[in-house]
Assembly symmetry: D2
Homo-oligomer: 363 residues x 4
């Protein structure tokens, strides 16, 4: 009944400091729709941290709402958004992008076998650290086809590029990779959008050279995930050079991403961006994931993906898995064959060393 | 700076019992998207209260999201939703209904002058208690035109009827009026949808004969507002005879109305529907509104609308208003002429007698 | 069986010269999608006639497609189109505007009774020549409300203005009225769009001071109707200052308004704009309507609207109408009471004096 | 200048018999929107030919309009349409399907190299006759994933299956293949939609065992292409078991697929389905393609695809192509490498033996 759970990183409430501040401010009377001082304060803190004083910051309800809203804001009617075929907007949003009228133009995200074969850094991983990402060459080749000869007006133009960091597979872009994508987007004047639903876990990875300032300067818009990183819910969207429209609020509202009591979001992000709370709790998830990873390798588990963040993927025999599932809730990922399953084990901002020890008993 | 505020009923957080339960359950690990036990428990309580065991209950993020999602679920592509011209979906949702592809077909909602002239019950009100409502005769006449002769295929068919209760003007349908609308809808097999963003304040009005059970039996779908009635956010949708689609979740998701941590909504409604909390706190708003109304009439204010719920509307001279606004935050409603303004004063679940006393000082 | 028909102006094929040219060019092999020389030639002729060398001209399939496409091109996502409540886009396009995501914001188009009462010019008409039109004052007042105070982000912004000329009731704007609307639109930087489905019949009216050059200089986009004025089908859209998008073709295609064999449209308009054919055949419809009008007044019929174009509206007793309908096909307009019906009698580019004489026998 | 053209099959007008009938009926006065007797007559002929008396037949403007309308009619809001990645709806409709809110779910359509290696029937073709088609196994596997475990509500459900016959590559399904697809669709209650923009060329192929009656009994909806097969424009949609909605007309209208003068479409199809005209002119295209194919093989050209219909694909050296293009208009398909290009040569209903002889001179 009360199994230990590593099934995902959005199974708990919020950091206690957030709950405290909600209680403290509960009877203040605050104006709605994000016009309040908590939103302003949180936005200022984020802009200062990012080093982008000209940015516009909005606080939206959740991840799918945010992806749908931003992409629809960025695209012209005849444009689609380029994404990895494994990207959240391509695969797991119930068609929300198409619902708002746009095609998701997918690029392959799995490396060729040759790529992963030489993965000297990750000898026990099936896939290298490239899975879930789009590659600069693929992107450039794709966009190029729309400029090579005269008439592509019966196809869908690439009008924005979506990447997630960390990706849905826990992998990260390097600063060099991100710069390359950014350069291509700027060459063709196509906005680059980074989905940071798990941004903290990327920024605090031991194996990243990408800072939030790097992101703020390399992309046109990104969001800082709250739902999966310490908030009850909410995502902070940063248009690094200002919003692409004079009236973002009605657009946010049409897409279901506007909260009447917007200050609830501002207050949470204000709390997360006070005293480095966001980074500190993200760091905890990474440290716990490292512990888990070390334990898995010691026990001889094969890592399915070489993930440097809070999501770890292993292959397990189905007989073992059946027993395991009596004690632990995990994320089902996919079947590799009739007898093996890939599962996800995710740590989060609140995972404790005791949780990992407990988990290890069943592995 | 810290003015007293009667500007709206969504300026405060949540009932303290909700904050307590959020804290108590904060580190439980709960499955997402409304599949959890808190949602189940809240749904059961609501179904039991309504006397509709076959109902489907969903918990959505906010009012506009809910209106957009339900209306899109009810309508066929060539259909529109009938609403009062003052209805929230017609006037104040930034085009969210049209964004999802449907026309709002408006009926007049202001009574003819002759109607209000005889308003013996409300001698000091400019408008009678009919404002904001649609009338059975208007509805029937409108629908009838689509059946009178053979071809209306170039017009938009009435495919659902939207009413709000209380309306945006604080007025209420009587049981007889609601029954009449319901009869017409059933005669033509058109679903009737009741927006209950402020439902509690309607149910607890001293001048209503409509119960939640009446509503549940007379309409096809309604929602119980949380955002404005004691919850941090969230609305509980009740399809009284079951959902009109096999897969409501992806539709809710496409419209931005799905919360990843769905249990946050379930938990709030479970709390509100334990020990009559929802009704009790709604009753407080009504009692405070009655106090306010009494005070206003005593001071000789003219009520703009004869509202039996928590929203009260008065006409104020602009000079007076300027001074008033230095002490009190109010809702601007409209100008009646160059020198007068209609303002809204709203009580809520947390308004105290002291708040009213304080307000009265400035009136 | 072979009744004489005055039911509408799109009941016949095309001017014989068009059929001849279709036959002449039938086996030429021509590139698709409007890239051909016939489209180019027709566009040049239209631009020259309008005196707008910088215009972009497109040939679209039909009226509803054209309205839907243009309006969606002009509007931002959070904007709606302002139209008379009687406007085609508001009332008779099966929700096509809403299908593409936008609200139609309606202004009243029927004059107050007082207005028509003094109609000395049209003593026998129930309504003056204002019906179907929007008035400058109403438009300005409406737009003004969006600039009067700070926040209308929960309403739908007026993003374009739609007028029809002739209107659906056969009435026409004067040059002064059109200029006034144009001035308001330019003051607020809102594009003005003129639906000219029956443009020829407006331009050739005996009671107009508006030329096609006036229109081209006063509006941002209009179209020259072909379907109702001598073509098999098709409308010529003129963006007087150039198209508002870099890629109109995919937008036209998404809205179903693009014809694969685009030259069929170009060829028709090239024919219509050679040797003043379009104007000459439009003139015929007007002359026949004048004959009809004269005959009607002589016979004592009451004109329902004082229409200066090809559509004439009369009130008929239902008993008379029954008999009349055995000989003539007419357009049903509306019931005025239990015993009277308003009917439309429309002439067109091919109506003959013999047709009118024949019709007169039954009146 | 007046080069010979084999660039596509929609470069000419209509069969002369159609032009004659347009002229004959030009001054009849006919009711609009497909309610006329020509539409009725054409529909009856088609239903009789197909052996589906219960079918509903509609005449729509063009191919993209038809695909968009039908798919939107078939799908629920949370569903997408399954298509080959090379399918017209996936690749060449400017995002028209997504514009109406739905995702195109693509299956691979290129055979693995091993498949084509053994292609004994077509030794000179790079690709076997499978290109452009979806395979029953792929379809079943894809659909199965949505039934394998419990929750796919965050993905887009397969709600209809789209195939083209002939495909965009000129290939054809065998009756066995079509039956297999049909069986899978019926097993899962998913409608099967066949795009017959070039249907005649498929039916008259020398290498097909599929009749129009087979199609009518195996699919839920298909259309008989007119634009590419002898009509000026227009497609005849056949819902083999009746339309899936009570009001198809407003839906057709919203998608830009409705013609005001609907009889222009009915008259054309009535002509095409009188005295086997449609089949006879289709047969001509096939005979000319066979002549062309024979000539190409004799001259040693490598066929890129083994096409049994009117579209033939060859690989040409770029130097040769440059010279060739001075005499012949062709369809550019794709580059195979730096020095070679795949081109399409299409015959049609009006291609003559003289055209082929002329073309051969330049090959």
């Amino acid at each position: 009944m009360s199994k230990i759970s590593f099934s995902s990183d959005y199974t708990k409430g919020a950091h206690p400091r957030i709950l405290e501040r909600l209680a403290e401010t509960n009877f203040e009377q605050i104006d709605g729709y994000g016009t309040d001082d908590y939103c302003k304060s949180a936005a200022e803190k984020i802009k200062k941290l990012c080093g982008t004083p000209e940015a516009d910051v909005f606080f939206l309800v959740g991840g799918t709402q945010t992806n749908q809203t931003i992409i629809d804001m960025l695209l012209k009617p005849y444009e689609g958004v380029v994404a990895a075929q494994t990207g959240h907007v391509a695969a797991h949003e119930a068609g929300a992008i198409e619902f708002s009228g746009h095609k998701v133009l997918t690029l392959p995200s799995f490396p060729a076998e040759a790529d992963s074969a030489d993965g000297s850094e990750a000898p026990s991983a099936v896939y290298s650290d490239q899975v879930g990402k789009i590659r600069a060459k693929d992107l450039k080749d794709y966009i190029d086809t729309f400029y090579g000869d005269d008439n592509h007006e019966h196809m869908v133009f690439p009008g924005a590029v979506y990447i997630s960091h960390p990706t849905e597979y826990g992998t990260l872009y390097s600063k060099a990779e991100l710069s390359e994508l950014s350069d291509i987007c700027r060459e063709y004047d196509i906005p680059l959008f980074l989905d940071g639903a798990r941004l903290g876990y990327g920024l605090m990875s031991k194996r990243t050279d990408v800072t939030i300032q790097d992101i703020a300067h390399l992309v046109d818009v990104f969001y800082i995930g709250g739902t999966k990183v310490g908030a009850l819910f909410g995502e902070a969207v940063v248009f690094t050079k200002g919003a692409p429209t004079k009236h973002p609020v009605p657009i946010i509202k049409q897409h279901g991403a506007l909260l009447a009591k917007g200050w609830l979001l501002g207050l949470q992000f204000d709390t997360l961006f006070t005293d480095d709370l966001y980074m500190n709790i993200s760091k905890n998830a990474i440290e716990m994931a490292e512990l888990l990873r070390k334990g898995l390798l010691e026990k001889g588990y094969k890592l399915y993906i070489d993930s440097p963040t809070n999501q770890q993927f292993i292959v397990m025999e189905d007989d073992r898995l059946k027993e395991f599932s009596e004690h632990v809730r995990y994320g089902f990922w996919e079947k590799t064959d009739d007898k093996h399953t890939v599962i996800r084990l995710a740590t989060d901002w609140a995972t404790t060393k005791e949780d990992i020890d407990e988990l290890m008993k069943f592995l």
